[in-house]
């Protein structure tokens, strides 16, 4: 079954994935058995910095502190509990097979690799599936109130891209409950003194000494003070960069800055263009719109997606008879129907809108209709399942989804790309790790629903506690302190950038630039991409970046709470990242998962992969200055256990 690595996919010597030998179901246990350990008495001497305190960060901080390490956490928010993991609605996957529907670690692994359109590392995905069950156990023990049946046991539901019920949920607020669980675990160690929290602190630079990560430079977002923090290892748990599109379902403060500054210090970036466009979001209502709101994918369990069969049909949804409704997902994908993976659902919604079937004032929306489910199960049952989502929809739009169908449209939701990591989650800078959405991840070119929570917690609870020890056992603790010149230099870089931002006092606001960048990204690097469009995007972003530094207006001072200064700093990084994403998309002459190049599609309009030339992770190395071309490295992806096939959800 093994696939051969072709010449085009050859792994660069700079990328050692460190995947252990042996059969896939033994790799992780073998690896754990062989990993080097840190003496319990010495653990306290090692300081680990955790940047970002969402699911990955909080779970990592808690677990490492329990092991005895000296942990310090950093978040830009006023409390770890506000991290954007909190907004995940639908659920978390695990291969518990509590439903007796034949689920297994292998099936979860298989679905995730297939769902990711064969662009993820098999061994990582298998490990993810393997530890998924322990996550559920851990969360239940922490007091996470998952939905239960009358017998007192846990309930499950099904999610897109899977034909099994393996998703555990807590109403429509699963992310919140899991994050609060991880947060409480973290606070337990704050209580015992094992974790020191730095809230409202933003990481601005990574400090690298002799090629190893040795600390970070931060800005106190209340006083503006620039601080130096030394550590023996740095964990980056800073989430995704979907906000490069300006409008996304990410929280307003989500940003790429920490990861990007690491990239610029030598951590390579994997698959930056792999972006997930989520099919079920509330459509844009106007220019002033600041963010998009997701309606959980779980709604597709009971909601039917349709548009009027006649293009331009302006009748009210309830006035359109059944035979004039085009249930396009059910018709095009009879076996998965409304539960096709996200990339497929999004692309089809765009397709019907492009063909003039779109609904709503902008014509950029499709219906998600609960009429039939309400008829079948009754309003109460539907309200029990989705009540809070329906309420949220009504609050935002003013329409009542019990009475008329919801209007939805795809929106940027998640970034599969991120810092490249090996099997140990270590980036190309020794001592720097990336966890959760911040790494290039286990989701390949498309993430399945309810898998992000799983991955964040798997990385934090069950992977990093082992793998970080492997590195630290070879390091002397407290090797470098903050008086090292590398700290002074990194601090100076951070300060200079801030001063430069404040100095320009131009005519356009940060929001003007961010919005304009977002438009370029959405139009050219969004749901469907073309060679010409990507080239144009690169040119436009470059020009905008130059203009930004000369003409941006940043108010106030650096020595106070100044959110627009923070914002400017983040957008300045998005202006560099956007270009890299376009370059990556341009380089990948195939379509796979969320990456859809119009030139590469099957006659039915499905993504056409090119395994011969692109069965690899594209890993980009910073060239030393933002205006030079980044260097491409490749990590070949070998599939021993899953056969590469054209994904089919028909």
């Amino acid at each position: 079954m093994s696939t051969q690595t072709t010449k085009a996919n050859q792994t660069s010597p700079k990328l050692q994935s460190k995947v252990p030998e042996g059969p896939i179901d033994k790799k992780w246990s073998t690896h754990k058995n062989n990993i080097k350990l840190v003496n319990p008495n010495n653990k306290r001497k090692y300081k680990i910095i955790v940047v970002g305190t969402g699911l990955a960060g909080a779970s990592a901080a808690a677990s490492l502190a329990e092991l005895g390490y000296n942990v310090e956490t950093f978040t830009i928010l006023d409390s770890p509990r506000r991290a954007h993991s909190i907004a995940a609605q639908g659920g978390i996957n695990a291969a518990k097979n509590y439903k007796n529907d034949g689920d297994s670690v292998y099936r979860l692994f298989y679905d995730t690799v297939k769902g990711g359109d064969y662009r993820s590392r098999e061994a990582n995905v298998y490990r993810l599936a393997e530890v998924s069950n322990a996550i559920i156990d851990q969360c239940v023990a922490q007091g996470v109130p998952f939905a239960r049946e009358y017998g007192g046991l846990l309930d499950n539901r099904s999610f897109g891209g899977a034909q099994l019920s393996r998703t555990f949920y807590a109403r429509g607020q699963t992310g919140q409950q899991l994050l609060l669980g991880a947060y409480s675990a973290m606070m337990k160690s704050v209580d015992s003194g094992a974790i020191k929290m730095h809230n409202r602190h933003e990481m601005l630079e990574l400090v690298v000494v002799d090629g190893k990560a040795r600390g970070i430079i931060t800005r106190d977002l209340v006083t503006g003070a620039i601080e130096r923090h030394a550590a023996d290892a740095v964990l980056l748990c800073t989430g995704g960069y979907g906000n490069v599109f300006y409008l996304s379902t990410n929280a307003k403060n989500c940003n790429v800055t920490a990861a990007w500054r690491c990239y610029k210090k030598g951590a390579m970036f994997g698959n930056p263009s792999f972006t997930q466009i989520h099919p079920t979001c509330i459509p844009v209502s106007g220019d002033y719109q600041s963010k998009l709101t997701l309606m959980s994918e779980s709604l597709r369990n009971d909601g039917r997606v349709w548009v009027p069969r006649k293009p331009g049909d302006k009748r009210h949804a309830n006035q359109i008879p059944d035979e004039e409704r085009y249930y396009f997902l059910e018709e095009r994908y009879p076996s998965f129907g409304n539960l096709v993976p996200r990339d497929v659902a999004s692309r089809n919604a765009k397709d019907v809108c492009d063909k003039g079937h779109g609904v709503g004032p902008s014509g950029l929306a499709v219906y998600l209709d609960f009429r039939d489910s309400i008829k079948r199960y009754g309003r109460d049952k539907i309200s029990e399942r989705y009540g809070n989502l329906f309420d949220m929809y009504q609050k935002i739009t003013g329409d009542n989804p019990y009475e008329e169908p919801m209007r939805i449209f795809p929106a940027v939701h998640y970034t599969m790309g991120g810092l490249w990591v090996d099997y140990n989650l270590q980036t190309t800078i020794p001592g720097l790790y990336a966890l959760g959405e911040a790494n290039f991840s286990d989701h390949g070119a498309n993430r399945l629903g309810a898998s992000a929570l799983m991955q964040g917690l798997a990385d934090g609870y069950f992977v990093i506690p082992y793998t970080v020890g492997d590195y630290l056992s070879g390091e002397k603790s407290g090797e470098v302190d903050t008086n090292h010149e590398a700290f002074a230099q990194a601090e100076q870089e951070a300060v200079e950038r801030i001063d430069k931002l404040l100095k320009s006092k131009g005519t356009k606001t940060v929001l003007d630039y961010h919005r304009a960048l977002g438009k370029i990204m959405w139009d050219e690097v969004g749901m469907s991409r073309t060679e010409q469009g990507l080239k144009d995007a690169i040119a436009k972003i470059r020009a905008m970046r130059e203009e930004f530094w000369n003409n941006v207006y940043v108010p106030g001072e650096k020595s106070t709470c100044n959110k627009y200064l923070e914002y400017a700093n983040r957008v300045s990084d998005f202006l560099e990242l956007g270009e890299l994403m376009a370059r990556d998309a341009l380089d990948r002459n195939e379509s796979c998962g969320g990456h859809f190049r119009e030139e590469y599609q099957t006659p039915e309009g499905e993504a056409q992969r090119d395994d011969e030339n692109y069965c690899h992770v594209s890993v980009w190395e910073y060239p030393g200055d933002p205006d030079s071309d980044p260097v491409l490295h490749k990590e070949a992806l070998e599939f021993e256990y899953v056969k590469l096939t054209q994904r089919s959800y028909k």
Partner: protein
Amino acid sequence: MTINLRVWRQKNASTPGKLVDYKVEGVSEHMSFLEMFDHLNEQLMKKGDEPVEFDHDCREGICGSCNMVIDGQAHGPQKGTAACQLHMRHYNDGDTIVVEPWRAAAFPLIRDLVVDRSAFDRIQAAGGYISVNTGAAPDAHAVPVEKEDADVAFDYAACIGCGACVAACPNASASLFTGAKISQFARLPQGQVERERRVVRMVEQMEKEGFGDCSNFGECEAVCPKEISIQAIAEMRREYMKAIT
């Protein structure tokens, strides 16, 4: 439409603040309350003025960052709605709206509408957890939990930690926040072992942070974006009585 805003401006905790009037033009009824503030800030910056600082993040009512007292009501007039989910369609052209920060001695002001809510973290750290180390958990199905208990525990766990309960309480009490956490764990079998220690410590921490006494006004429940019932407070007291007797 045009909205007349009166917004609390205060440079920092040591400088006195005041309400400042702004006329915001071009407000759309589809805007959220925070989008109106974005809009105001853009106008201010284009004139070279300093924008209003306010906390916000998810803008979908779940992170608990936003904290505005709108016309004397925490999060504004809509039931079960955080300020970020409040839409301008509930206002009319020409309305005057007064916006102030959360006010409580335990939430010191940082700037304009931004306050420091770290007291909540410290209350949580004083026992708002179940001590189970990673990897030490039994199978999730080892202990069944009655559906009703799981549901009530969820209702309490839905707290977003925004602090509206404190802001709206005439006494600036944090009882609903603290009670919700204590009662969530008290409802679950996993929370039993530490329940006495938890309630006593969390209640004492709440006191230490300088939150006020609860006088059962129930205003907290009325403004809570997650509509958490003050039954949580009653349960906290029951837990406390059990612990000290």
